[in-house]
């Protein structure tokens, strides 16, 4: 229970369904802010009191459990080290993977609980052979299956998402109001929960040495300077000090970041169109593609299968083919993906089902594919 309306209503539904529910608020920061803030609506002291009040209203016990040390190590430090390596991390995925459905779930099971329920919008369905499957929520706009794409079968077996079949957020808010939950009108949290005011650049600048370096084009020519490579994102157009205009006069975008040489590589919009992504760190949300019957096993992987790939929580899924060869998952979208950074997560869907995910280690521009 974060203190937000989704987890409060999720708890209420779990109680109503007859489960033996205990509310837990995760203390993920050792020095939480005091007041709720607009852009970061999560994890302040006031949020914890909102969660406590909701639990009280529902008549369920409530505890605050301190996972700040594990969170710092598994999520915050990972965030910093990924950026330092020139990659774009997804801390919400790491938190789900290592904290909410791992450290927290482990402790819950030790203490005799059967599952962790959250206010995520997603559905868990049981396949014919009894393995769990993760599916999109009924509300396309609110679907959060992407950020849960990192869960394994075992984790899914112990998860519950009571909001999965609600078609709109407005309905959830209305339900909260009906139930007398004071958080019915609390704004949703956006941004990253551990970065105040959503100012990632400044936050990183305080933690990673920022040194002036060169901006180069895709041929290696120096075209400008920057104040710190790691604060740039792939696809960024603003904030580039370019002294030399492009030969074709068209705008330039950040295409990749090279922290070792402290360089930012820029290119044209075409260079941002990605025709292939690959990664070796993969997990399957239940049965893998072969067992699921989507692909055939090959000597060192599986044959190409038709799927959809989604590379951001709110990006549209793109039809693609995925295969596994030479130790990595390789995905070729049918139409180019725009603005893909290494370190991001690619989630693969077949229909509404999340098949699995991988961290993107490499990208190939569409215009570089043979």
């Amino acid at each position: 229970m974060s203190g937000g309306v989704d987890s409060a209503v999720a708890a209420a539904r779990a109680v109503e369904a007859g489960h033996d529910v205990t509310g837990v608020h995760l203390a993920l920061s050792r020095m939480p802010g005091i007041f709720r803030s607009g852009s970061r609506g999560c994890c302040t002291v006031e949020d914890s009191l909102d969660a406590r009040r909701a639990a009280g209203l529902l008549g369920i016990p409530f505890y605050v459990w301190d996972f700040s040390a594990q969170f710092t190590e598994a999520v915050v430090d990972d965030f910093i080290s990924e950026y330092s390596a020139g990659r774009t991390p997804n801390p919400c995925m790491r938190c789900n993977e290592r904290i909410k459905f791992a450290a927290l779930l482990d402790r819950a099971i030790e203490l005799g609980f059967d599952a962790v329920a959250t206010g995520h919008y997603a559905n868990v369905v049981t396949a014919a052979d009894g393995t769990p499957e993760l599916h999109r929520a009924s509300a396309w706009a609110k679907d959060q299956s992407y950020v849960l794409g990192v869960l394994t079968a075992d984790q899914l077996r112990h998860s519950m998402f009571p909001l999965g079949d609600t078609p709109s957020k407005d309905l959830v808010r209305a339900e909260a109001e009906r139930r007398g939950l004071s958080v019915a009108n609390k704004p949703d949290s956006h941004d990253i929960c551990f970065i105040p005011e959503g100012d990632t650049r400044d936050w990183l600048a305080d933690r990673i040495p920022m040194e002036t370096g060169k901006v180069v084009d895709t041929d290696g020519n120096v075209v400008g300077s920057h104040d710190g490579a790691v604060a740039y994102t792939v696809g960024q157009r603003k904030g580039l000090n370019l002294g030399v205009p492009a030969a074709d006069g068209r705008p330039r975008f950040v295409v990749s970041i090279k922290p070792q040489s402290n360089e930012v590589v820029v290119g044209s919009r075409d260079d941002l169109d990605i025709g292939e992504i690959g990664g070796a760190r993969v997990s399957w949300a239940g049965n893998d593609p072969v067992v699921s019957g989507y692909a055939d096993a090959t000597e060192n992987g599986f044959s190409p299968l038709d799927c959809e790939v989604q590379i951001r929580a709110h990006a549209d899924p793109v039809p693609a083919t995925a295969e596994k060869r030479d130790g990595e998952i390789v995905v070729r979208p049918n139409t180019p993906l725009n603005g893909v950074a290494t370190g991001q997560t690619a989630v693969l869907y077949v229909g509404t089902r999340v098949v699995g995910q991988f961290t993107i280690d490499r990208t190939v521009a569409a215009n570089a594919l043979v």
Binding site: A27, P32, V45, S48, L49, V64, D66, R107, L111
Partner: protein, 378 residues
């Protein structure tokens, strides 16, 4: 279902609640001159008299406050400003094992009023090192502040020696007696202390009532200004709270001089039972100079949060030490101050007048399995 967290709060008995209800129905403002006011005033005075008597202080020397924390803040800041009104006395002597009400008040003075804090060495039981105290004392010390009894580990400080050492240099002492009142005999007037703070809800009175006994020779500067309903603290007098606290004080005093032995026996039985059934535990606090109703143990590797959760599921109320903001237990600063490792998980059992044999039986039946289950979750 055992309630063994009297150090957090002591439940109000029916007669204390009845006293509060009786007094709250009296409509007057205790500072008004008419008869309604006089009647209210009388109830307030009666309450304060009862409190004062059990503190060993004169009623007029007892200031009623809104909490033990307020009394502690009034004592420390009031004494600091008083001691710095006629001379520059920057130093405050205290320990790292104080309750946060004292530590944070001292810290505030350091941050905002140029105070300098010096922490006394403590032994493994949390007892103040008297030689260190004597070495640090001089007449430019503003005050000494210390717990009389540790709310966490139960250690009782050597008051007489501390007072004697301070008297050599004319340094006033504040004793935080919040965990002492109702547990050990106290006599403020005989003690030689300058100020002494207590809290009503710790002895079965209502929350929202604290008190500060002040030896009138010391200059205490008030924090809360207004109608001067009390010399050292303004604000409408809490008639019902003070009256009910007075009834609670009498009950607590009767317990201390009468049947506290029974509570001590139960605590001893608990301690013996824990020692016999749980391997590897260490009892914290001084073995003999302690309040007899506190049993505090640490268990290597114990995940205290989980152990408390499992005890809670069985309906048993036990604690790890001080409660904290936002409900998260941090490692105890008191245990750290006496050199206990963070990985030694604490469990604090504080008994009270209504604790029974069956409470102890239930805890002894449940705890060994819980400890085994949560011993290595950390």
């Amino acid at each position: 279902m055992a309630y063994l967290d009297f150090a957090a709060t002591a439940p109000m008995s029916d007669d204390v609640i009845a006293a509060w209800e009786f007094a709250v129905r009296q409509p007057g403002n205790a500072s008004a001159t008419h008869r309604d006011g006089q009647k209210s005033r009388l109830l307030w005075e009666e309450g304060r008299e009862n409190i004062a008597r059990t503190l060993g202080a004169k009623p007029f020397d007892v200031t009623m406050t809104g909490s033990g924390t307020e009394a502690i803040n009034l004592a420390i800041k009031g004494l600091w400003w008083g001691r710095n009104s006629d001379a520059h006395r920057a130093r405050i002597i205290t320990t790292e094992a104080e309750h946060h009400a004292a530590l944070d008040a001292v810290h505030w003075l350091v941050e905002h009023e140029s105070a300098v804090v010096e922490f006394l060495a403590l032994d493994e039981f949390g007892v103040i090192d008297l030689d260190d105290l004597r070495a640090k004392l001089s007449d430019d010390v503003a005050l000494i502040t210390s717990l009389w009894v540790s709310n966490e580990i139960g250690t009782v400080q050597p008051i007489a020696e501390i007072v004697a050492a301070a008297a050599v240099h004319g340094v006033p002492i504040h004793m935080d007696a919040v965990a002492a009142w109702g547990h050990i005999p106290i006599d403020f007037d005989a003690s030689g202390l300058a100020v002494m703070s207590v809290s009503a809800h710790k002895i079965g009175g209502p929350v929202g009532v604290g008190a500060l006994a002040v030896a009138r020779s010391w200059n205490i500067v008030p924090s809360i200004h207004g109608g001067s309903q009390q010399r050292l603290r303004s604000g409408s007098l809490d008639v019902a709270g003070t009256y009910a606290a007075g009834v609670a004080a009498q009950r607590a005093h009767a317990h201390v001089v009468g049947n506290v032995q029974k509570t001590h026996e139960l605590a001893q039985r608990l301690a013996d039972g824990l020692r016999a059934s749980i391997p590897g535990i260490t009892f914290r606090g001084h073995p003999t100079n302690r309040t007899g109703d506190n049993v505090h143990i640490t268990v290597p590797g114990l995940d205290t949060v989980s152990a408390l959760f499992l005890l809670d599921e069985l309906g048993h109320s036990v604690s790890a030490g001080s409660a904290c903001q936002a409900g998260v237990n941090s490692p105890s600063h008191v245990l750290r101050a006496i050199g206990v490792s963070d990985s030694d998980g604490p469990l604090r059992f504080t008994l009270g007048p209504t604790t029974t044999d069956s409470d102890i039986d239930e805890i002894l039946a449940a705890l060994p399995a819980i400890v085994e289950r949560t011993r290595t979750l950390n």
